[in-house]
Amino acid sequence: MDDEIIDDVFLREFLLGKVNDEERGRIEDLFLIDPQAKERVLGVEQDLIEDYLEGTLTTADGARFVARYAQTPEQRRRLRITKSIKDWALAEAASSDPAKTSGRSGFLAWFGFRPAFVLPLAATAIIVIVVGAVWLSRRAEHSAIEKELAQLNAPSSFRDGPVSLELSPVTVRGGESQAPLNTRASENGVELRLLWIQKERYPGYQATIRRVNERQSFSVRTLQPESDGKAIRLKLPAHFLTRGMYQIKLSAVGSGSSVEEYQFMVGN
């Protein structure tokens, strides 16, 4: 990308529809085929969105922005999502800003000079460290399981093997009442066949699986459909599954709205 000709100011003009057809065409071409140019355009767009949310655009630019980025309910929702991320970061930063908590730091300094408080503070610190270590260990365990799931479900590892259970989406009559799955009989893991009932077919899918009533979920991001696109296979290691009800959300990569939900019971 020619940095001298296409700078951030020019890209901002482009995003607000202030450039001529020829220039617009040139940037759009670069956006589609040049990964560096794409990242640059998206970065400038990110700045523009931020400026709009902070109310620093001029009235005219604000109107141009709204005409492009806040037309549809989906676009307005995306803006609200971006705003929520910014608001969260600002609130977190404000709560840990020393300038805003100077009263509290004085209080802490006072604590530091009182030996009677040293023991409780040390005990609190130890608790924090232990809790932190447990949290880190759980995160590591979570990452290891996701890695294993990714390896099991890598496109290259798929062969036409026997299916342990075929699942219909819960929106289909009977889809929520499947026979319990017995993992004892399948030491090498289970293979689920998730039926995709939507008309649209997609080249890639991702699944999120969790045990019902548990918050922790695991994602598999590289699932491919069978050749006719009517089902997606998902492999799970046997040790991953314990007795209980499981929920799977399957979504099409690149389509925010195409999601199906499945449930199954592990019986042993």
Partner: protein, 194 residues
Amino acid sequence: MSRDFAIAQESFDEILAWFNPDRERAAAMYVQLRHDLAKTFVWRQCSDPEGMTDEVFDRVARRIREVRPTYKGDPRLYFRAVANNLVKENFKKIKTQIALEDADLTKQQVSQAEAEDADVEECLQACLEELSFDKRELILAYYAKEKQAKIDHRRELAQRFGISVETLRVRTHRICLSLEQCIERCLPAYEQRK
């Protein structure tokens, strides 16, 4: 322009083959191009970017057998040319749709948006938990300041990481994108509970 979108399997396969002989790479390019074309429709004030993207693929699918053997260059640029023609054709209709959309921004929509804000908050918290510590801290630091103050702050931040402000922006954008996608996936679950 919302309508059922279905390309015949044969044409779809041919489009993928045109993108890349490796089907996996071609599929990734397909997904990316859909996303990118929708983006260009947004920039051109089209009220239904997804529907228009469907239409572009539909049109290319109908002509791929005649176009592919003779077309020289990156196929994605052919898709852009089709998209460009589509925008021109629909310009009048699109303007009408925008006018109706604006007029329809009722109080009910505003209250729906407010209700959704609460769901976005819940989903944001859930999605933040899925982020690694480093990524979470980076987002936190990047957005810690607003307006004029953020410019100096981000410059310092980039220096601290030993990267350019540009690279810092790209990194945070990628994280934000994954966070936004996570929230988009999470929201329907909250809406269903109501």
